[in-house]
């Protein structure tokens, strides 16, 4: 197990290294850049050249990349030019991470809490109206573009009916102590219940919108997987033996059907990150997705680089965790 984990982490480092080089070269080969973003209409060739020279952007690409590597080895990943000017890009990522983690966790929780029971129910009543209805519901979920769903939710729940806040992470002027950067958790830790509740209300709409992607997938995988398992001989045997429905369900069906579901959940992390770019923009929610969109618009190279790289690293790490979880659930793998 340990050897496996170590090998995977080493592989991840290699991938991250290659990826960093690709992203570095790609970004700098694009037209425009941070200099345009800073100068705007005042740009002239001379002024542009001066600023490029000051920022080291006039050097050949390989020199720039070597400098980047040198700085990166000291834990500096370049300074943000627009997202949070003057701050190290890695720090920007770390600052924004809790917000997205908080949002993604709630979204994932919603997707699981809704997807698994619904998928299980649909499979148990395979072919019934409940099944068809649930399947169509999930397909509609796939067909509605995330940003449009986010917009609809905001329009109705926040603007028309005034039930929930429109955007942001916490009400302005609320005096809240920051501990972890996950506002709901912070409120609980410091016993500032109102702050926690307030932050939670800000989370609901974006989380629901974001949950629509993983929900559909989790639902479908659960349904398919439960269907598969119900067909298996051991379930039939168990049923034939006269075991109570509850025992069959709990011990045989669910447990075996959960394996693919767990992997699927792990796979959703990438999708959540992509969805976060869209939802966070709609709700002006200051997380990684919002930073990514801003960094892209303003050509904040350092931040773009770190965010894409970290996104890949997180993605690989989560997959590793999923594999470990998989091994823990599946005794066949564990025994090796």
């Amino acid at each position: 197990m340990l050897r496996f984990v170590v090998r995977r982490i080493l592989q991840m480092c290699l991938v991250a290294f290659v990826l960093s080089m690709l992203i570095f070269v790609w970004l700098r080969s694009l037209p425009g850049g941070p200099v345009s973003a800073i100068l705007g209409e005042r740009q002239t060739p001379a002024r542009r050249a001066a600023l490029e020279a000051a920022l080291g952007l006039d050097q050949p690409l390989h020199v720039q990349y070597l400098r980047f590597l040198e700085r990166a080895s000291q834990g500096k990943f370049g300074v943000s030019t627009k997202v949070l000017p003057g701050e190290d890009a890695l720090q920007v990522f770390l600052d924004r991470l809790p917000a997205t983690v908080e949002l993604s966790l709630l979204a994932l929780f919603l997707a699981i809490a809704l997807g698994i029971p619904l998928g299980y129910m649909a499979a148990r009543r395979h072919g019934s109206a409940v099944d068809t209805g649930a399947v169509i519901f999930s397909l509609v979920g796939v067909a509605v573009p995330v940003f449009f769903l986010a917009f609809l939710l905001k329009y109705f729940f926040a603007v028309e009916w005034n039930l929930l806040p429109v955007s942001g992470r916490q009400t302005t002027g609320l005096d809240a102590t920051r501990v972890t950067g996950m506002f709901v958790l912070d409120g609980i830790l410091t016993r500032e219940w109102d702050a926690s509740w307030d932050a939670f209300k800000h989370l609901i709409l974006p989380a629901v919108a974001l949950a629509s992607i993983p929900f559909a997938v989790i639902f479908r995988i659960t349904r398919a997987s439960v269907l598969d398992v119900l067909d298996e001989d051991y379930v039939r045997t168990a049923e034939a033996k006269g075991l109570t429905a509850r025992v069959v369900r709990g011990r045989h069906v669910l447990r075996n059907a959960m394996l693919p579901v767990v992997t699927t959940i792990g796979l959703q992390v990438g999708g959540l990150l992509a969805g976060a770019v869209l939802t966070e923009s709609v709700f002006s929610y200051r997380g990684i997705g919002d930073a990514l969109a801003t960094a892209f618009r303003e050509k904040d190279y350092a931040v773009l680089q770190v965010l894409i790289l970290m996104g890949a690293v997180i993605f690989v790490l989560v997959n590793l965790l999923v594999d470990i979880a998989y091994a823990l659930i599946d005794p066949r793998i564990r025994t090796r």
Partner: protein
Amino acid sequence: MSLRRNAATLTAAVLAAATLASCADSERSDDGGGEGGGGDGTFVFGAAGAPEMFDPFYATDGETFRVTRQMFEGLVGIEPGTAEVVPELATEWTPNDDGTEWTFTLRDDVTFHDGEAFNAEAVCYNFERMFDQNEAGQTAGEYWGYVMGAFSNDAENSLYQGCEATGEFEATVSISGPTSGFPTMLSLESLSMQSPKALEEGDANGIAAEGEGFSFPAYANAPVGTGPFTFGEYDEANGTISLARNDDYWGDAAQTSELVFRVIPDESTRRQELEAGSINGYDLPNPVDWAGLEEDGNSVEVRDPFNILYLGLNGEGNPALKDLNVRKALYHTLNRDQLVSTQLPEGAAVATQFMPDTVSGYNTELEPYAYDPEEAKRLLAEAGAEDLTLNFAYPTEVSRPYMPDPEKIYEALRTDLEAVGITVNVKTASWNGGYLDNVTAGKYDAYILGWTGDYDSPFNFVGTFFGNLKENDFGTEAYPWGKQLADDLKAADAVVDDAERGAAFETINQQIMDEYLPGLPISHSPPALVVGPGVEGVVPSPLTAEEFDSVSVGGE
């Protein structure tokens, strides 16, 4: 597993129930202000982007200046609601005869937020601090470089030559030669007065280029000025900047005790937040929303246009454009009345020259080129350019006060051009993704761009466009009159007498439009800002330089 699943469903159910229950009391609970009037309360303003940092000297964008403007003041100020220069920290100023030495008489009742006294020494300290920048600071100190031309390492080419404290409250600034821009340029937010002690302690000039950005010294996040508000905190995680009232302000104290800027990048979200009552105002509402906003009890404050949108032309890439008649023909094809009335907000106007009418030197005699496709066709035929092909470009991912929606303006212009038989190749790039580079590099035959004035000076408009012969987007160097125009502009700018200078610029504007026509001025467009019900005292500024100390937030 089964048990865990049940627990999960249960939690979800409880959460859902709790959410519903809370809906009742969440209404309007986000209200930022409205805690009674009488000089208390909080004014929450929705900003479109986060500030860069808080030292205006290194700042370059409007979102930063909007925040720092509330905390800092310059020697020279701007009369609210106009572009006129008025006394601020200096009560009066007088030049010597040749306009190279300016003596400023300072207010004697001003202290910085940290308790330091404001006096002539502080003024000179500030000038020297701005002048004496390291390599990184010289590029980051964008605006100084822009108006003064150089820093201490290249002192000969600098407009600024020195500052001397000629009395406790009298400072004399010498400059290399007279210009219409001085002392008006001292009203620029970047050239505000900052506390010498705080600058020193926060190592304000310790800026460094690191990686591909600038890393700022501690001072940049702990600014100390003289203005009506003092710096509170920047809550990056939540995207809010809060300022507190300066109770020791030398002028009238601010009407609200707290001023908060909240970053909301999405325009329609800002509107929704205003409607929900969680912000009290925001900048640049979509013209489409103006009527709806007013109906809902908000007030839309329209500023006087202080900008110009033009269609730039470049004869380098397309020799046909070097023919004055072809340029005139293009001008006649444009139905600018329709463009202004259907695509630009109310208050927008068809431009007759490269500057708005609020700027001195504006020539009132000039008439707009008429929309006349027949005349255009005739001129094109005469020039032998009937089958003219234009690489005509517009920027994406940008909205400027002079062009709220570049794509729509472009489509309108393109339709007009095609109507007379010109072939238009659509070119585009995002604003930061190469558009500006391509424009300055002369890669487009035609493009749309514009300018918002920094301060009330004709040279800030036409000088920016044509004053720099070597490097300008119109490629005037290639024209026989290019050098003449640049020289004329510099000569006019150096005229000391206001009236004479104005007359000189009027003549130049006439020449530009009749004889040169390097590009086609299209329109002036008024940017607006909107405030919610109960907000009073907002004075819209043509320079988009509103001061929020006069703003009060009443109850609902």
